[in-house]
């Protein structure tokens, strides 16, 4: 593998990792603060992608679509909280898993009814249609670089809010000791609503940004949801820092694995079976990493709650 190809895969991994972080951050915050496990989070990512794609398509501008998708994602998240989620906070994880699974069915089917089953084509955003030559033999699409930069900016902003502000202090306290925060007289109902809303908006943002890169299809949220679960489990539930590190690691393992596994298998097998075995092993790789991490540290790398 050449240096430029390796570099390309590293960048792809970084970009996937950033998107995963945006989804996982909401998931891990919601779980950490409210002890609420939300399977529908992936569907919110998908919805963001669809909203941005169709509004952007209608208005002829990706950026206007993105701008419109953010408040709509937020509103949708708040509506879900009001309709469904708040009735589940006091219930066990199993009930939460199942009820939000029901929500996924509805959103998936709704999307299918509204937009059809065929993938939606999203043109490259205006101003970012070309590529940037990073080194000899490597021209990287500028929009993908934009995703990386935007994601890092959001991560930095979240870090500032969570680590430095009063709100962040409440969120962190809630993640490690929710009853304590309630006892301090904080209006947890509003805190919960806010965390769910921000989480939904982040997921919608990630979906909107992913539109021009990946296929916008029904069910695109499932894949991301499960990878995001892997991320927050590896990172330690409730930990933003853990989610960030784990997201980048998962993104890199996923892309590098897919690129390199078939070649690695060539060492043991013929070309055709090597390609096949490589693909199979590559798709299992992140799960194997997760299993290994959990076998070593059953509560993830950076457990937020210290009992």
């Amino acid at each position: 593998m050449t240096a430029s190809l390796l570099m390309l895969q590293l960048l792809n991994g970084l970009q996937l990792g950033i998107l995963l972080f945006l989804v996982a951050a909401g998931l891990t915050l919601v779980f950490g603060v409210m002890d609420f496990i939300n399977l529908a989070h992936g569907a919110q990512y998908m919805l963001g992608a669809y909203l941005a794609a169709s509004i952007g398509g209608a208005l002829g501008s990706f950026w206007l679509g993105l701008l419109a998708a953010l408040p709509l994602s937020l509103a949708f998240g708040l509506a879900l909280e009001w309709l469904v989620f708040r009735h589940l906070y006091a219930r066990d994880h199993l009930a939460q898993v199942l009820a939000t699974f029901g929500v996924i069915l509805v959103i998936d089917e709704g999307v299918r009814q509204l937009w059809g089953s065929a993938p939606l084509n999203v043109p490259q955003p205006e101003g970012f249609s070309g590529g940037i030559t990073l080194m000899a033999g490597l021209t990287y699409p500028s929009f993908r670089l934009a995703i990386i930069v935007a994601g890092l900016a959001v991560a930095a902003l979240m870090w500032l809010v969570v680590e430095r502000s009063r709100l962040g202090m409440l969120i962190r306290a809630g993640a490690s000791n929710a009853p304590m925060v309630r006892a301090l007289g904080v209006d947890t109902g509003r805190l919960f609503l806010g965390v769910i809303g921000v989480g939904a908006m982040l997921a919608g943002f990630a979906g909107a940004m992913a539109g021009p890169v990946f296929a916008v299809v029904p069910g695109m949220g499932d894949q991301v949801l499960i990878l995001a679960f892997v991320v927050i489990v590896i990172g330690g539930i409730g930990s933003i820092r853990g989610a960030f590190i784990a997201a980048l690691a998962v993104g890199l393992v996923e892309s590098l694995g897919r690129a390199m596994m078939p070649e690695l298998m060539r060492l043991f097998l013929d070309a055709a079976p090597a390609r096949q075995a490589g693909a199979a092993v590559a798709s299992m790789l992140v799960y194997a990493v997760m299993a290994a991490v959990l076998a070593w540290r059953p509560a993830g790398l950076f457990p937020a709650a210290r009992a």
Binding site: F31, I37, L39, V84, H87, L88, R91, H93, L94, A95, V97, L98, A99, F101, G102, V103, I104, L105, V106, D108, E109, G110, R112, Q113, D222, I226, F229, V230, V233, I237, Q276, A279, A280, S283, M284, Y287, A288, M290, A291, L294, A295, P298, A299, G300
Partner: protein, 320 residues
């Protein structure tokens, strides 16, 4: 005789009797029998899952993987020209049990929501592996040459015969799980679910008990998978997809986590409702999804857990 009248026995016995009588009460056509056998097969998997959820407190979100293994063992043997059920079925059970044993070694080190997620991850791992098996059709799946025969006898093909084989195996699975959860073994499992610290202070390590339950449940689900492959004469990675695992979990919870018969009732209700809705409208999930949400919110004890007033009465009795 009075023992038979207890609700924990009465309800599943009634359900099994209804299934036995169904073909003769106007549900003997192809569509009805296909639907019923599907319900019974998923019911088997749900019963085994309820041994884990209700008996041991292990909410696995990867139980469909065990079914997937069972189904794909049948398919792989079919590809190799082996259609003898006396080989394929035991192989399916053993393979699923072995997969459960290996993944259980890691998964059971965790608990609560971590357990839910790691079982989900193992399920996905298997799903992608199956999708990459191009010899068995990859994503598109694999159509069986024919149903398994048993010692040369073609007992799985006649619809009525298949119906009663599914029924017999469902009854046997239920009987096995009921027996296990009432045994000394099951008592330790149930105790460890409620108060693990007490169980450890008595000198039990919950791990081997949980692992064995996980392996047994995996084996039963493997058997269900082998039956499913025969019922559809087709396998695809969708058998092992995570929504299927969620559905199985739903059947258990819908029936009522606390009791084993719940899974049986839950599976029947779930499959019949799902297929019934799908029969009536194409966008059936728009109705089914909200029904699931409402069921979770308003029926916390499941269908067999009774209506809210009945639960209150039981609580009062417990307080007295």
């Amino acid at each position: 005789m009075t023992r038979l009248l207890r609700p924990s026995l009465l309800l599943p016995l009634l359900a099994l009797a209804a299934l036995a009588a169904a073909p003769f009460l106007g549900f003997g056509d192809r569509f009805a029998l296909t639907l019923l056998s599907r319900a019974m097969i998923l019911g088997m998997a749900a019963v085994s899952l309820s041994l884990l959820v209700g008996g041991a407190g292990l909410a696995s979100l990867g139980h469909a993987a065990m079914m997937g293994i069972g189904a794909y063992v049948v398919a792989a043997l079919d590809l190799a020209g082996i259609t003898e059920g006396a080989i394929a079925f035991p192989a399916a059970i053993l393979a699923a049990a072995a997969f459960a044993g290996i993944t259980g070694l890691v998964a059971l080190r965790t608990s609560g929501v971590y357990f839910i997620m790691i079982t989900l991850a193992f399920g996905q791992m298997l799903f992608f592996t199956l999708s990459a098996l191009s010899a068995l059709g990859g994503d598109d799946g694999y159509t069986l040459y024919g149903r398994n025969t048993f010692l040369g006898a073609d007992i799985l093909t006649p619809r009525l015969s298949f119906h009663f084989i599914c029924l017999g195996l469902l009854a046997a699975s239920w009987g096995l799980c009921a027996m296990l959860s009432r045994s000394r073994f099951g008592r330790v499992l149930r105790a460890a679910r409620e108060t693990p610290l007490r169980v450890e202070a008595l000198g039990f390590s919950p791990f081997p008990y949980r692992l064995l339950a996980y392996v047994i449940a995996g084996g039963i689900a493997g058997l269900a998978g082998a039956l499913l492959a025969n019922a559809m004469e087709f396998v695809s990675p969708a058998v092992a997809s995570w929504p299927r695992s969620a559905e199985l979990l739903f059947m258990v919870v819908l029936g009522g986590v606390a009791q084993l018969p719940g899974a049986l009732v839950g599976a029947l209700a779930f499959v019949l409702l799902e297929e019934g809705l799908a029969h009536v409208m194409s966008a059936w999930k728009l109705v089914f999804g909200p029904l699931l949400v409402l069921a979770v919110i308003f029926l916390p004890g499941g269908l067999t857990g009774g209506l809210p007033w009945r639960r209150r009465k039981q609580e009062r009795r417990a307080d007295a």
